[in-house]
């Protein structure tokens, strides 16, 4: 059996999410060791554009499961659709993004097809034909090395770790997969738009976070302005969330979100172990804190000892200058 890899792409509002391109990079590298072809599947409603984009990333084939019943998320329908494609494509490895969507779909398809799923991997190796994955556990306080006892196996990859593949190849063939959607007992009936926060923390390139040093809800204003300048997602420490200064959905840490942006700016965050767990795999970490002994400085690449209210306005102006020069 050929050791093919099947990428499960993820769309949003009709276009592919960045993590899908990152999965192509991972699959290409894996395929070198496993010796199979890389194929991809896109699932949803009216997703012709997603399929075409995917076909240009260098994959050898794209499966398109396009059904009006998949216009919003219904676990039973997506599970049935992906299971159908897996049975057809017979891959040795099924790659998903470790997003909310990918984790949920991976678990349900894993149960349906009796497959193992290695969640949220951040690195891998192919050792003598065997896949060996590394994944953070305890929210990053430790790293586990996990391997499947046999193939096929499902693997989800943490967003923002691998470089995205580019579109540029001649289009691969797109196969439309016919599929009879079951009547779902659970489904999303409405998208509820959230106010203010627009950049998803998990996929954000930049994250600007505030902590106890913000002192109040108003204290988050300069932090939010800096985030806006950078096009960054706003994050927060548990202390700031517990104090009610900012929405809990911004919490970064073991009981909040785990992030791995290119740049993480921690403002007035001391660096409790539960916070560090959620952001230590960021590429570059900046910390601004009044306390020179704050644990956050142990993980920071660049630190400023000072009050965030003195530092942030200057940062904001300086970033604006640099960004306008581009």
């Amino acid at each position: 059996m050929a050791n093919n890899i099947l990428i499960v792409a993820e769309g949003r509002d009709g276009t592919l999410r960045k993590v899908s391109y990152e999965l192509v990079t991972v699959a290409n590298e894996m395929a070198k060791g496993l010796g199979g072809a890389v194929e991809a599947v896109t699932l949803g409603s009216d997703i012709g554009k997603c399929a075409e984009s995917l076909a240009k990333t260098g994959v050898s084939k794209v499966y398109q499961v396009d059904d009006a019943a998949m216009a919003t998320f219904a676990p039973e329908i997506f599970t049935a659709a992906l299971s159908e494609v897996i049975k057809k494509a017979q891959p040795a490895v099924i790659l998903l993004g470790a997003t909310g969507f990918g984790k949920e779909l991976g678990a349900s398809v894993g149960a349906r097809l009796d497959l193992g799923l290695i969640t949220d991997c951040t690195s891998f190796a192919v050792d003598g034909g065997t896949l060996v994955m590394k994944r953070p556990v305890y929210a990053g306080k430790a790293v586990a090395t996990v391997k499947p006892k046999s193939l096929p196996v499902m693997v989800s990859i943490r967003p923002n770790i691998f470089a995205p593949a580019a579109e540029g190849s001649a289009g691969a063939p797109i196969e439309k997969v016919n599929f009879t959607a079951p009547t779902p007992r659970a489904k999303v009936v409405e998208k509820v738009k959230k106010e203010a926060v627009s950049v998803d923390l998990a996929e954000a390139k930049f994250v600007v976070s505030g902590g106890r040093g913000a002192r109040s809800a108003e204290g988050f204003e300069p932090i939010k302005q800096l985030a806006k300048t950078l096009g960054a997602a706003v994050g927060a420490s548990r202390a700031a969330v517990d104090a009610g200064w900012i929405d809990y959905s911004t919490q970064v840490g073991q009981t909040g979100k785990t992030v791995a942006p290119q740049l993480y700016i921690a403002l007035g965050i001391s660096g409790a172990i539960q916070h560090l767990a959620g952001m230590s795999s960021s590429k570059v970490i900046v910390a601004v804190n009044k306390d020179p002994d704050a644990p956050i400085f142990k993980v920071a690449d660049y630190g400023i000892v000072g009050d965030l209210f003195d530092v942030v306005p200057v940062l904001n102006e300086e970033f604006k200058k640099v960004l306008s020069e581009k």
């Binding site: 949003r12 998320f73 676990p75 599970t79 909310g100 984790k103 949920e104 991976g106 678990a107 349900s108 149960a111 799923l117 969640t119 949220d120 060996v132 556990v137 305890y138 929210a139 306080k141 430790a142 790293v143 586990a144 090395t145 996990v146 391997k147 046999s150 007992r185 659970a186 999303v188 009936v189 509820v192 959230k194 950049v199 998990a202 996929e203 930049f206 919490q251 073991q254 009981t255 409790a272 172990i273 539960q274 230590s280 570059v284 900046v286 020179p292 400085f297 920071a300 690449d301 660049y302 400023i304 000072g306 530092v311 200057v314 940062l315 300086e318 970033f319 200058k321 640099v322 960004l323």
Partner: protein, 261 residues
């Protein structure tokens, strides 16, 4: 109504994880109910306060997990099932889900709640897998839950990938819980005293009609071959000077040296 909550015993989130010989050192750890499961326990208690009924906890773990189960009973749950068999140990999400599903088959329930993930292995699979194994609908990562008047369906607000969605599900269903759903209570003294008298039943593989060879480390599809500390980050630099000077220098370094801006 009957609500079952799946709970897991995990190290307190303030715990520093120590590693020896490729494994986590468990001595000296203080154990808690996984925070995401705690939202499930709280929601179950609130539902029972509103509609009357019974809250049952289901917990897979070694003998020591009894202490964690008692914590859940102290919060107000009525009874518990301890899935306690050496054959369950060392499993992965697929074997753990298999055991929970078999146990749920023996229970009457209208709703199952479980944390969206446990904060130790962060697999985020068991609740969803159990739903699939039992052919039940599921809704993941829920931050608001409202049952219909006839308790045959539920409206759930879920938060996934930065979006908020309103989902509807028929009941019985499995709903996974997360931060934002509620504010978990603390146990009362009366609750702690009362928990000692509440029933905890132990179920083993044989009680569930499961073959031990398909469970735990033997039945797992995945093998954890090593646990190690995360790679240490290279030492950083503190930028000297007053706030304005340091801030200017920082932006310069991010642009020229780190090249992230």
């Amino acid at each position: 109504m009957n609500v079952v909550v799946l709970i897991k015993r995990v190290p307190d989130t303030e715990t520093r994880i120590q590693i020896k010989d490729g494994q986590v050192v468990t001595e000296g750890i203080s154990w808690i109910i996984s925070p995401y499961d705690e939202y499930g326990v709280e929601e179950a208690l609130r539902l029972i306060e509103k509609y009357t009924g019974k809250v049952t906890l289901l917990c897979l773990g070694p003998d020591d997990a009894k202490e964690t189960i008692r914590k859940g009973l102290a919060l107000g749950a009525d009874e518990a099932v301890h899935l306690n068999d050496p054959a369950f140990a060392g499993g992965d999400a697929s074997t753990t889900a298999k055991v929970h599903a078999a146990a749920l088959k023996k229970k009457q329930f209208d709703l199952v709640l479980a944390g969206k993930q446990a904060v130790d292995e962060d697999n985020a699979q068991v609740g969803v897998r159990v739903a699939e194994l039992l052919d039940l609908p599921h809704v993941n990562s829920v931050i608001k839950l409202d049952l219909s008047d006839d308790k045959k369906s539920a409206k759930c607000l879920r938060e996934v990938d930065g979006d908020r969605d309103l989902a509807e599900t028929a009941l019985p269903a499995i709903i996974t819980t997360q931060q934002g759903l509620n504010e978990p209570r603390y146990p009362s003294l009366k609750g702690i005293m009362g928990a000692k008298k509440k029933p905890i039943v132990d179920w083993k593989a044989a009680d569930l009609g499961l073959d031990p060879a398909t469970l735990g480390a033997k039945g797992a599809k995945l093998e954890v071959i090593n646990i190690e500390p995360p790679a240490a980050r290279p030492p950083g630099k503190i930028i000297p000077g007053d706030a304005a000077t340091a801030a200017k220098e920082l932006v310069h370094l991010l642009h020229e040296e780190a090249k992230v801006i």
